[in-house]
Amino acid sequence: MRSLSLIGLFSPAFVFASSEGVKPSATDLFDIAGVPISNSILTTWIIAALIIIGVRLAVGTPKLIPGKGQAVVEGMAQGLRDALEPIVGKQMIGKTFPLLCGFFVFILLMNWSGLLPGVGTIKFQTADHGWQDAIRPANSDLNTTFALSVLSFVAWTYFVLRYAGFKVLVFDLFGNKADKKEVGMLMWVLLVPIFFAVGGIEVVSIAFRLISLSFRLFGNVFGGENLIHALGGIAPYVAPALAGLLEVLVGVIQAFVFTLLSAVYIGLICNHEGGHDDEHAH
């Protein structure tokens, strides 16, 4: 307590702004069989249980002529499917849609759960760290977003290898895509090492997707939480509410971007009909 008051003496900003900001790592609450459970894990479980129970209660037993709850859920699922079908391709949409819809709903509701009253305000006191948050949104923990991006990467590998095949993947990455009739034999031979080098760069950019997906989601959610926390210290009750509205929009956009990027990565290799007009994402 004495060290805390000394800090208060030396930093007048302590009076105006709230303290050191939101912690980027989640604090452990308790252990289950030696595995530490952090507050973000607990929030994930609670919200996931609510999602499952909510959808089950809304749909009931699915009937051919839908009831109200089932119609709502079906409408949302159909809307998402229509948005993703031109990207992934008709033959893949049936197989990838459960994963992509799961990503979207999970990330969306986890992002929005960070705006409920109680997140960031319910604190408990620990012996060595002082006051700690009891509830943290799931995606403000880098572990959760990294797990999601690992899941997306593993799913990408599975879908590409199973449905497009290893040869198509290697040709798409490293293969010489020049037309022999257009450029001539000599030029075609000279282009082979260039395409090979491009393939090497592609492999690096594919491996970087693990980091980019996770950090994009983590940065947006954690930054939003930090913004609300900091505004709460400066102009309480009004400015955090406005930042919360911004966070609603950011939550939707980040969920959509994560899902869309996962679909784009799969669709780049697997989508053969139509033209892909999507940009080459890194």
């Binding site: 950090f215 994009r216 947006n220 971007v257 890194h282």
Partner: protein, 67 residues
């Protein structure tokens, strides 16, 4: 004599500055293309949101990954 001093993280500054310019460019081009072809507004919205998220991600790399 020190006139000004940089406090804070320089890599994060440059990263966020570049990301903001990138997002602004995407927005400018999106608005211009909607002006040219207002019927394509929905498709342009989806593309521009995707582009903005990709450009903004670089800011997060700069903030959290720079030493």
């Amino acid at each position: 004599m020190i006139i000004a001093e940089i406090t804070g993280s320089l890599p994060a500054t440059v990263g966020c500055f570049a990301a903001a310019i990138g997002v602004g460019l995407i927005g400018a081009k999106a608005v211009e293309s909607v002006g040219r072809n207002p019927d394509a507004s929905g498709k342009i919205l989806v593309q521009s949101i995707l582009g903005m998220a990709l450009a903004e991600a670089v800011a997060f790399y700069a903030i959290f990954l720079a030493k």
